[in-house]
Symmetry: C2
């Protein structure tokens, strides 16, 4: 989930200086319109890793906007008046009126998360508290509130680095407390709980954006751009485009050119651009490793069969990435009676007549069996999103539906492996051309494949979102560098082996 | 919650014979249209108390409709194929396609409820399972499914009676199992868990209707009418009125006249019509009892103050029901520094600019204090519903919001007392006339009061729904027979005493 916020995204000082004044002006005008129309309240929640820039971002928004119509709330240890009423009383009390913006630091997320990390609550209690938050935010959203939630992330190392820097600077030294270091030492537990928190409370009307918190310029421009975009979308939906049919006051500030905007440039860095696509394996080591891995997989799958452990494998990736070849290397190790490959193309009439997940539920393997999906339910947030087959509401909601579906698989004891086999755009072109030239491969290449190529960057963004919302510690995505088929195949087979071995308690003989 | 399904509603044989053929024809035609248009699937869930008529109702629907487009599913102990996959696999597998109707007996509600009743799961685990159901139904509803859920209720005595009758009839004897009697012996625990189940899973897109299960005619006509109405509403929303702009096939069967329909007649019986409005108290016993109760309340409220226990009292009821008089009898016993009466009229501008619950949250008492609400958040599901100030979506959703709000009060340790002070329509008229004649009371009577009188039966239905969805074992409604002011006042003061005493652990000196 948080791997999408450890990519080293930055915005240069020059880009920041160019973008910031425009954004600032836009935000001020939007705030003015909001205040005049009083159509809805805006609730911004900032939570995340200590040192991820929650406070700085809120300060920046306070500096950029008109503080008269802005409230900022952080909650320390509860005062008497707060302790003497239900916990949420203080949050209700502080809710902004229509036309105003309220910024909440950690707020209702703080106690559930810290209680869980410190072991003061068990998982069921934690989930119950998160459900209360969902109910609270749902009530506000149904009442019209625009709710944006930002999770400011830092990697463990980046957090340590940042805390040290703050400590070493006499100006900021006082801002680092023992509690910050205590949190840092609990980083892994914190992140595990945070993952559940974000995925459980990421509902349609109150979604999280995970923001990489390392670079101050990047996170400032990211948050403010998203606030601006959300305000514009909501106002346009309410009053038609141009807010009330008019251009923004002063007729200035059209939306910045997305192509030259520093934020957009930084945004085009995705989990995929972080991959080292030059990875490869020579022929002989490949053969040796593959034989060994396949033998191991063969033993493991028999063991899984004996222990009634089922597996579900999901393969996604660009056309011609080599999913089929990788799948075959797995099949070669398996007892044919024991697995089924499901190539997922357009749904049948029977499938179209039901919920999109129905066709995957009905293909779930029995205990001890293996189902391999060559493309899968992730089509919902990839091709269906990009081609507009699913509405934005539909595909956004499906992250939670998919997480719930996979959670049920895992609870049942199924081993779930999800591989994104990736190739670069150039490599795809080379493979397409090869297919055109090879008579027995020509059928594999369609018009649609060429069309999909034009949407490369849209797919990259969609994959990034997919990893952000559906890669969890219990059901992680494995990103496979596929420009070299040998490297990819070995990585895929080895990934399945590792996951199986872990599930079987590593008791392989 | 279930008190609304213990009112002895029946439909006479004659009414049934007159209504049933019309309904049956309508259902068949609607089913035909549904099947032709294939716009959405219909999911009917039947759950409830054993003997409440789940099976009989499903059989009736099977007999009345075209079985080709109907599937019925009951789930016994799981078969191997089911056990070997995640629990919900079997439900997903059986989901009806668009254009078809699926009827599910207990289904996904069965295990969570029985596990809870038998003590195999704790409350947090139970709530987690209910959340999974909510997610499942939400996914189906967002996909377009029309979901209706019927909770077939019987009182403990009615259940025993029915089981004995079934046992004594050789034709039905085999239908009563030891498990049925086991459930009957656990009736109170079953109902406690059922209350949580219904209130937690009663979401906007998949709502429960609680059906009184004693009379077969009543429950048959109730369920089939509701299915018919929901189908018509959904089809009209999709295709405009008259389903596809056309009259139903054959041009027959307009909606039955609501006034002569047996179901509507039975429906007009509400929790209010069950009250014995002739209850009264003579002057002297009244005085004696009131003095004693007020002294007790005085002691109890000092004790509550010392123990930092806060109280919230809610008074609702028709105009001129005597809420103010009852409240004064409470105030007379309290230390003036310790309580606050909030008369709730039209919201202020500041309140209108926020969620409707905001103005009640901000008035919550500190520990040890008492807040008395003369009218309250229940305005949402009473006057706002009836006057159309809130949309149907809004007021329906607010039952869950209110339950959540009150749950937070109770978790905090607040004593919550909710009184509906009732008078008959005739008594109200007499009091209005008296007000007109009494110069110092004339200000109390407005045009609006007269207008509200015309909506008496709408208010009765709204009160019935309110009690159904918001009267829970932790936050029950007290219905106060108010035609005699003395009786009402004594009952109100005594109710508050009892609740306070229970909360303080009955340690009064």
């Amino acid at each position: 989930m948080f791997e999408t916020a450890e990519l080293g995204r930055t915005i240069s000082k020059a880009d920041f200086k160019r973008t910031a004044p425009v954004l600032r002006q836009e935000l001020l005008e939007l705030q003015d319109t909001l205040h005049k129309n009083k159509d809805f309240p805006v609730i911004l929640v900032f939570a995340g890793v200590d040192g991820g820039g929650k406070g700085e971002t809120v300060s920046l928004l306070n500096a950029w906007m008109d503080p008269r119509w802005l409230i900022t709330r952080a909650y320390d240890d509860p005062a008497d008046g707060e302790r003497e009423r239900p916990e949420f009383w203080k949050y209700w009390r502080d809710l902004p009126a229509r036309g105003r913006i309220g910024m909440f630091l950690s707020a209702w997320y703080s106690r559930p998360l810290l209680d869980r990390v410190r072991g003061r609550s068990d998982e069921a209690e934690f989930l119950k508290q998160l459900e209360r938050i969902v109910g609270f935010e749902r009530a506000l959203a149904h009442d019209g509130a625009l709710i944006l939630k930002f999770w400011m992330h830092l990697s463990r190392d980046a957090q340590e680095h940042r805390l040290r820097n703050l400590e070493n600077d006499p100006l900021t030294n006082a801002r680092v407390s023992e509690r910050d270091w205590e949190h840092w030492r609990m980083y892994d537990r914190f992140i595990g709980a945070a993952e559940q928190l974000v995925s459980r409370t990421n509902r349609g009307l109150a979604q999280w954006t995970i923001v990489e918190g390392t670079d101050p310029n990047y996170r400032a421009i990211t948050v403010t751009s998203l606030v601006r975009d959300a305000l514009i979308r909501r106002m346009d939906a309410k009053h038609g485009n141009g807010r009330d049919g008019k251009k923004p006051a002063n007729g200035t500030a059209p939306l910045p050119d997305q192509k030259t905007d520093g934020y957009s440039a930084a945004k085009s860095i995705t989990v995929l651009s972080g991959l080292d696509m030059s990875r490869q394996l020579e022929k002989q080591p490949y053969k040796n490793q593959l034989v060994e891995l396949q033998a191991r997989l063969h033993r493991l799958h028999l063991q899984a069969k004996a222990q009634n452990v089922s597996s579900v494998l999901v393969f996604e990736g660009p056309d011609a990435a080599g999913k089929g070849g990788a799948i075959r290397r797995i099949n070669e190790s398996l007892d044919a009676r024991n697995y089924q490959v499901h190539g997922i193309a357009a749904p049948t009439e029977e499938e179209l007549a039901r919920h999109y997940l129905w066709r995957f539920w009905r293909r779930l393997p029995r205990d001890g069996h293996i189902a391999i999906f060559d493309r899968s339910w992730y089509g919902r947030v990839l091709v269906e999103r990009i081609e507009g087959f699913a509405s934005e509401d539909d595909w956004r909601r499906s992250y939670a539906e998919i997480n719930d579906f996979e959670e049920q698989l895992i609870e049942h004891g199924t081993v779930l492996v999800k591989c994104w086999v990736h190739i670069t755009r150039d490599e795809q072109l080379a493979r397409f051309k090869l297919r055109e030239k090879t008579p027995y491969k020509r059928w594999k290449l369609t018009e649609e494949d060429w069309r999909n190529r034009d949407k490369w960057s849209e797919y990259e963004a969609a994959v990034n979102d997919m990893v952000q919302y559906t890669s969890t510690s219990v059901a992680p995505w494995s990103l496979v560098e596929g420009n070299d088929k040998r490297y990819a195949r070995v990585k895929v087979v080895s990934t399945f082996c590792e996951r199986l071995a872990a599930a079987l308690g590593d008791r392989e003989g």
